[in-house]
Amino acid sequence: MVRKELSPIDVYRFLPKTNCGQCGEQNCLAFATKVVTSEARLEKCAPLLTKEHERARRQLEKMLRPAVKEVVVGVGLHAVKIGGKFVMYRHEFTYTNPTAIAIDVTDEMPEGELVDRLKKVEGFNFEFIGHPLKLDMIAVRSITNEPEKFQATAKKVVENTNLPIILCSFNPQVIKAGLAVAAKSKPLLYAATKDNWKEMAELALRHRCPLGVFAPNDLKLLRSLAETVLEYGIEDLVLDPGTFSAEGLAGTLSNFTTIRRSACKSGDEFFGFPLMGVPMIAWTQKNGVHEDVARWKEAYLAALLIVRFADIIVMHNINGWALLPLVILRQNIYTDPRKPMAVQAGLKAFGKPDDNSPVMFTTNFALTYYTVASDLESAKINAYLIVVDTGGIAVDSSVAGRRLTAEKVANALKASGIENMVKHRRLIIPGKAARLALEIEELSGWQVLVGPKDSSGIPKLLQEKWLTQA
């Protein structure tokens, strides 16, 4: 909350002011500007890390501290950062560290199944407008409550994946056995409860691991536990107020919201930690229903938790149809709302277009543009694309909202200079702008060919209509 009111000057005051450029910026003020907007991290300032600037560094760290502490699980390249939130609402600043999705394995799984599952989790990937969307963690659950079995499973997990791990058991002996083989990978220990907190805190302290704290639907107890283990010397916590499905859904979201609100709006130090949700709960109440129904329920519980402040979620399903909407939702919620949704309008050439190449237009909504661009590129099409300024709104919405009109298209066509670049006068328009076809013809003098409603159909259209009617 304090953070978003910081100005670059507030940060600049504490920087070395040497303009050394080691951070990659022109000068210290430029660096300060990026630090304030979270585009650059303090650690990039090498002089600041020296003894001489220690006091200034501490001061800056305090100033820049997020309302929700950033906690790291795992080591090296695959470590995940969770929490680190500055604000309650994404429009106030931006959300940092997308919700980590953990998939469960158990100490009852046969080895083959376990290894296969780990492979699938690691291999999950969806390329979405240039971003790889992936799964992040493995939650190892002790079903048997037997330390040896849990240890054997944890060992196999560590041997077969680099993904960060959550060791899950309420029995400290079981967690201890897991740590004996997995401590090096800095797992999240789940969880300290009102009954076991001392043993769990001792383990977390000894192995320097972050510690989960669990108090189902009891915020007072959760806060007491958090304060207690902080007093104990633990620095990195993850809070789990319990995930309930069905009749408990409202209470669950209310608890998550209350905790995050206390952290962001009241600066509550005990609630200023990442939150963990467990959509997997949907599977425990399935009462013999079809697995797809459990997947579906787990997915919608996860969607609600991703929006309402969960920093880690534990899931059971690994089927793509149910996970895809979730990883896209996560991507959407965690994009930076300060970035414009528009790309630059104007003429773009794809491949090596000549004076016979097709001419088409789309809007300057970033997602629309990138979708069309990637379809043209992957089909290796030579064409001109005119990007019309609709204020960053997609085709259908901008037609409905009159941000995309025949007049705008005709003007953009004229301004692009395309008339001097091609011999023909035929314009392919998006199928969702079909209603503008006649008017565009009248205003521009170009012949209009109505394209597909989805740009994936462009290659087919070109094959069937562009050549034959030329």
Binding site: Y89, I143, K220, R223, E231, T258, W321, A322, A394
Partner: protein, 343 residues
């Protein structure tokens, strides 16, 4: 060196109880015989005094409701949707009946696509006939959807408003490039409700509502701030709605209207309907989950009225809304040992 605590440190916690000065206006959709219409029941939306599902405010006075889409002519639909309505594609009255009786729609939206001058240019008189058939077939409140041509929509809306005076139909929608005075006047005169539609911009929404206030009481206006699909701008739609609702509760009266979402737009995302590599199939499940996920994100911003398409997405959203009306979780035991659950 700290001394490690030997027993649980009892921390206090008083849940926050912030108060918001403004209440979202309550809008009644549909009118029963006693209320001057012919609907079996009317539905009130709005009335919130805290952001959506903030437990400390208690459940919302009126849970969100769902309208299903019906089209007045055969249109192309995603396969996952079409399989549920293929028998009624050319019969709006039968389609509406199916939506209400089988899919439990709270309201029905009739999209008068055929009135589009570029499609069939059906006359306002014929549109009135279509609505007549639908109004006979179902007793739920109706939403009248235009074709998107501002001039034609005004003529069609006016004819329908007059023919069904007193029904409190939701006229979907009034846009900035229409003759707002004319629309405001016929909606007021014939007793209907305006859906004020703006393209994802709070200032434009305020502006259009302000223009409507000259002719309509606030209780006759619902607003649509534009819904973009999951993956295709949902982030902007989400934050626009979240900001609008927070601003409204904080005292911005021009935004303190119930919100409607054209959630059907979720199907504009190709990942909702397209056949993909086997690991993402079947699309018959992926598609409705796409629509549901879009709806859930917006549910949390405070949307009061969802216009939707797929029966499974509608059913699941209804379940969630129903579950959200409950208070605190009662059985802690159910999840206390989730770690050991056998699946």
């Amino acid at each position: 060196m700290k001394t490690k605590p030997a027993k649980l440190v009892e921390a206090d916690f008083a849940p926050p109880a912030p108060t918001y000065p403004t209440k979202i206006v309550e809008v009644k959709l549909g009118a029963t015989k006693n209320e001057g219409g012919t609907r079996g029941k009317s539905i009130v939306i709005g009335g919130e005094t805290v952001p959506a599902f903030y437990g400390f405010g208690g459940p919302a006075p009126h849970p969100p409701v769902i309208a299903l889409d019906v089209f007045d002519m055969k249109v192309s639909l995603p396969r996952a949707v079409k399989m549920h309505v293929k028998e009624v594609l050319e019969d709006p009255a039968a389609w509406a009946k199916l939506a209400v009786e089988k899919f439990e729609a709270d309201l029905v939206t009739i999209h008068l696509v055929s009135t589009d001058p570029l499609i069939k240019d059906t006359s306002p008189k014929e549109a009135v006939k279509t609505i007549e058939q639908v109004a006979q077939a179902v007793k739920v409140p109706l939403i009248i959807g235009g074709c998107g041509d501002p001039k034609k929509d005004m003529d069609v809306f006016e004819a329908i408003a007059e023919a069904f005076a007193g029904e409190r139909f939701l006229i979907s929608s009034i846009t900035r490039d229409m003759d707002v005075e004319r629309c405001g006047r016929f909606i007021k005169r014939f007793g209907h409700v305006a859906l004020s539609f703006t393209p994802m911009n709070m200032n434009l929404a305020r502006d259009l509502n302000r223009r409507l206030y000259e002719f309509l009481p606030r209780e006759d206006i619902v607003m649509d701030l534009t819904t973009a699909a999951l993956g295709y701008g949902l982030d902007y739609a989400f934050s626009n709605m979240e900001r609008a609702r927070l601003a409204a509760l904080a005292g911005d009266l021009e935004l303190a209207h119930p919100m409607s979402s054209g959630t059907t737009n979720a199907w504009a995302a190709r990942e909702a309907w397209m056949e993909m590599a086997p690991e993402w199939e079947p699309r018959e499940l992926r598609g409705p989950l796409w629509e549901l996920t879009t709806a859930l994100a917006l549910l949390l911003t405070g949307v009061d009225l969802f216009m939707m398409m797929h029966p499974a997405a509608v059913k699941a959203l209804k379940d969630v809304i129903e579950q959200m009306a409950h208070g605190q979780p009662d059985e802690v035991d159910k999840i206390a040992n989730w770690v050991c659950a056998k699946i």
